[in-house]
Symmetry: C2
DNA sequence: GCGACTGATGTTAGCGCTAACATCCGCGTG
DNA sequence: CACGCGGATGTTAGCGCTAACATCAGTCGC
């Protein structure tokens, strides 16, 4: 696999040219798949390349072409399932398109950090930057940044003048809410994500409008922050209200991790899911089928999101102005949701 | 790719030089912090750089220096907590050291895929490659690869002639096993990771040697593959044995996700944790405290692992031959492990 | 007071590649 | 049969930067 032969200095095009008995330019033509090269010559050059194990020096190529064939990714929270999965899709699509992916993980989602990251990428001469963030200040910085390269946002809704691709959060939230309503629940409570997250707000919006459309009362929000711990707190709160006689029979949480926390709290408080309270999450973590009980949730296709992000980048690089549709989420029904006030058998794991 | 969109064509060193009234070489000296530049000149050049918004072209620099100040990371399974967290530490340490991080996510952990990834990085002229994989064939490929750049392994134990940094898996497994033994359990069952994972084997080793040291019987292994589903299957199996009268009171699983699956299975089978069976995992996922019941587990400091990985790379780049100590794991005791009910109401086979 | 030395700067020569132009050849056409 | 055309190839000129050497003061030592 070594790119240089046993010889001391690294191989360059001229070495291949000498071996194939052609000029270095012909080698360049072969390497770049240029058309006007005689088949015989091309074969000879290709053999020389293979025999020598030659690899073009991409720094030299980048210098003259002005393109590094690298996409910069700036993201937050890589240890969460969603971003990690999106990154996976992004990387694979980028690789398939012949681009390398350079990554910056933001310590915190501030505008300054976002700017600095994009800045560093520009200095690094990436061909384009993909930003994965759903927080307001970061998103704001994104609109403000005037980078000399295409800059696309993934998973950010509501950014007007910046190409973006995302999952339709609102539809997802409506799916979840509708599901609970259809099961006969009078209304559905909602545990939110952080207030400065656009996704969290879109989910609130979807939940609220579905309730309104069904003529159901719209209860007050329970504030969460994506963490299991905040779901746990919300669970304790709801349990107290149930015990106080409140009519709380269905909860929709803005993500699965919070749902896990809520499940733990309800369990501790002696409430059964779904008999006493039905619970629906959002994301469909790989662990969700193994929660106690298995979690009904809204699945987002994060990898697809990443793929579309790259698509968008490539389009921008061509100068096209693609406006991709949002990725549709789907509802996955498992054991944590059931009919209102009616014991039922647990559906099997998904 | 132009550094700044101030004028029509991209800025180059000569522009700064002209503005500062010096030669482009002096600008280069200032940019690279060379010492023999008169303070006045340096100030003038720096002002010109700031005013123009000049950024050096790193492709040109890379071409002449032969260094891209980029580290390549090849990893698997980024959607798992461990690798993701390790990557976080890696990225931050790399950034702090002035290196960019280019990422390849392996579709599958085969030797061929590993080779190809390293190969691509070499073609990309990265300064070093960090590999994050614990699977045999990938690890094997790693030893075999003769890259023209430093290649360090993170989280791979047992690779002899290749610089590596990892967590002390064996100690972690002993910690978990000892904990259960100390609680009075006669022995501890073990659900393994995949057989071709070095980490999984190290955990088996630790578990086995701790049992032996305590003079406890060593039960047969339950094969898992890191997934919740395999933990679930193991749980079903164990539950059947408990019902059959077997003396199964403590289980140590090679990761937390499998523990989640096992918890779900035991719950379904009407067994209580920790009353009937004590359960200990490995990793300490952020979700682990919210399992039902909260999971006792072994914590690994993945981010630290990443940081040490970069340390190792930098040392290699300097030509030093650092041999870092493994990162020590710690036991986190929560509700899923408790005292043995030796001589309990469960019927015993004669 | 003059050669050797030191520090600040300029000049020159590539790094390995691609783009543009130059060249050569064989062929069809009037 | 001269002409021109286009396909195949070679030649030349940079891309923007750094390394190495050249230059040119000043400064020091004896």
């Amino acid at each position: 696999m070594q790119p240089q032969a046993a010889a001391g200095r690294p191989l360059v095009m001229a070495d291949v040219a000498a071996r194939a008995g052609v000029s270095h330019q012909t080698v360049s033509r072969v390497v770049n798949g240029h058309r006007s090269v005689a088949p015989g010559t091309r074969a000879r050059v290709e053999r020389a390349i293979a025999e020598l194990g030659y690899r073009p020096n991409i720094a030299a190529r980048a210098l003259v072409t002005g393109s590094t064939r690298t996409i910069g990714l700036v993201t937050v929270n890589i240890s969460q399932y969603g971003p990690a999965q999106t990154m996976l899709g992004l990387e694979q699509a980028a690789r398939a398109a012949g681009y390398a992916l350079s990554v910056t993980i933001l310590d915190d989602a501030t505008a300054a950090a976002m700017r600095e990251a994009v800045d560093r990428f520009v200095a690094q001469s990436v061909d384009a930057v993909v930003a994965l963030s759903t927080y307001d200040d970061a998103a704001e910085a994104l609109t403000a940044i005037d980078a000399p390269v295409p800059l696309v946002a993934v998973q950010v809704g509501g950014v007007e003048d910046r190409p973006a691709v995302g999952v339709d959060q609102e539809t997802g939230a409506r799916l979840a809410t509708r599901h609970l309503l259809d099961l006969g629940h009078r209304t559905v409570h909602h545990v939110t994500g952080p207030a400065d997250s656009q996704e969290a707000r879109a989910r609130i919006e979807g939940w609220r409008s579905e309730l309104r459309a069904a003529g159901a009362p719209v209860p007050g929000l329970l504030a969460g922050d994506w963490t299991p711990s905040s779901g746990y707190a919300a669970g304790k709160q709801l349990a107290a209200r149930v015990r106080g006689g409140d009519d709380v029979t269905a909860v929709f949480l803005a993500n699965d991790q919070m749902a896990l926390g809520l499940l733990a709290a309800l369990h501790e408080e002696g409430l059964s899911v779904p008999e006493d309270v039905s619970v629906v999450g959002f994301d469909d973590l790989p662990e969700a089928p193994y929660f106690t009980p298995p979690l009904t949730t809204v699945r987002q296709d994060f990898a697809e999101l990443g793929r579309r992000g790259v698509q968008l980048v490539l389009a921008r690089l061509q100068g096209e102005d693609l406006h991709p549709d949002p990725v549709p989420p789907t509802l996955v029904v498992r054991g944590s949701s059931g009919p209102s006030r009616a014991g039922s058998a647990r559906p099997e794991r998904g």
